[in-house]
């Protein structure tokens, strides 16, 4: 038998979590598990804490509550640069439900938003006050049994430095063959601290650090990005799934990275 506990305060909810329980955010993951009898919990813990749905500006960073939905991101003027990402998660109904916090737990090949958060220096704020780098958090997410309260990201000085490309088989809504996010600040035509992350290329969204290194100080032209295209071909060992084989993903990754970096438009 399953029981549901609802707490007005996120700290109470956090305290109530145990080995037999799971935290319910937007529901798209937990309810799916329950529908398929794949649950390994008997208690569902949820919270109606208003802080979970808040979006706040904090200097050059933005704090996004874990229960903020894709639809809320789309509606928020300060998050306009993230709108292209949120718009490509599910259809309208999913976007009304799927949350920022839940996206961090979506299994391959889902979880496109987390790819974008990765390049934006995402940090995860837990209900118990701890803070973790998103990349570290994603790598350890399997055993996680707490509550994500919010995610904070850097706000790009120039929104156009943030780029996003999602490759899927169907339009306008489709699951990722891969997704690529890039934050490409430049000085005098040369990249400085570029950040690249890919979705659906590993068990979790991942930074492409070898690619980033090749782009440091590079110019954004065919010659400047050549090493990046070579690097990306070997950095990932993506999973096979119904959408694409590992081999296929490896083969097309350089092509899509080139299109993203040279602004050649979505090639999907």
């Amino acid at each position: 038998m399953i029981t549901v506990e609802t707490y007005a305060d996120i700290n109470q909810a956090s305290a109530a979590l145990g080995a037999d329980s799971i935290y319910l955010g937007g529901g798209t993951l937990v309810m799916r598990a329950l529908n398929y009898g794949e649950q390994n919990f008997s208690r569902i813990v949820r919270s109606t804490d208003p802080s979970l749905t808040q979006i706040t500006m904090q200097g050059d960073r933005i704090q996004i509550g874990a229960a903020v939905t894709m639809a809320s991101i789309l509606a928020h003027p300060d998050l306009a640069f993230l709108a292209p990402v949120a718009r490509q998660v599910g259809g309208p109904a999913v976007r009304n439900m799927a949350s920022v916090g839940g996206n961090l737990f979506a299994e391959h090949p889902y979880g496109d938003l987390a790819v974008a958060l990765l390049v934006l220096d995402g940090r995860v704020h837990l209900a118990d006050g701890q803070e973790q780098d998103l990349e570290v958090f994603l790598a350890q997410r399997k055993g996680f049994n707490g509550i994500v309260a919010s995610v904070s990201i850097a706000r790009p000085n120039r929104p156009e430095d943030f780029r996003w490309l999602k490759i899927s088989r169907t339009k306008p809504k489709g699951v990722s063959v891969m997704s690529i996010a890039a934050w490409l600040p430049a000085m005098a035509g040369r990249l400085q601290n570029p950040r690249i992350a890919l979705g659906a290329m590993a068990d979790t969204p991942m930074r492409a650090k070898a690619v980033e290194q090749t782009l440091e100080g590079a110019t954004m032209d065919t010659a400047g990005i050549q090493n990046a295209l070579t690097a990306i071909a070997s950095q990932f060992n993506p999973p096979d799934d119904a959408l694409a084989s590992s081999w296929y993903r490896q083969q097309v990754a350089p092509i899509h990275l080139r299109r993203l970096l040279l602004n050649e438009g979505a090639g999907s």
Partner: protein, 165 residues
């Protein structure tokens, strides 16, 4: 056994159901409230046949924990017609052959309604976007898109209502 009471409005009428812990809204509506219009298609958020409107916005009822709709307003295709009049969307679906097997229709119609309620003059691309979470295996979508465009035009015109059932 313990059941949890959940009360909400369904198509404008006060409704209450008792649900098992962990029950989804689709089950609560179908077996609890007896509204059989939303359908099970995948149980995982892929197909959209279970789409209902919660406070006017489309949600997937199969992934919605039933208890979370306490006090909220739910609309389904069962409540789409206005009295004896079909909703213009329903009429346009009929006239435009926008349903074949009919299994996706209830979800498709409320997804379309959510669009037209907030955007009376959608572009074709906006219609496609609005139903992008709703799969149809019979029609190839074109008749559905046409019908939604037609319904929008009807609703913009003065006195454009559906026919009596």
């Amino acid at each position: 056994m313990s059941k949890t009471p959940v009360s909400f409005t369904l198509n404008g009428r006060d409704t209450g159901v008792f649900v098992d812990g962990g029950a989804n809204l689709l089950d609560a509506l179908r077996r609890g409230a007896g509204d059989l219009s939303p359908k099970y298609g995948c149980g995982q958020g892929t197909c959209g046949t279970c789409t209902v409107l919660i406070d006017g916005e489309p949600h997937l009822s199969c992934l919605t924990l039933a208890e979370t709709v306490e006090g909220r307003s739910i609309s389904t295709t069962s409540g789409l017609q206005q009295g004896a009049q079909l909703h213009p969307l329903q009429q346009a679906f009929i006239d435009g052959f926008a349903a074949q097997c009919g299994y996706c229709s209830a979800g498709m119609l409320v997804a379309a309604k959510a669009l037209l309620d907030t955007n009376p003059s959608p572009s074709r691309d906006e219609v496609i976007e609005a139903i992008s979470g709703n799969l149809c295996r019979c029609t190839g979508y074109e008749p559905i898109i046409d019908a939604i465009m037609e319904a929008a035009a009807q609703m913009r015109s003065p006195g454009g209502l559906g026919r009596a059932v």
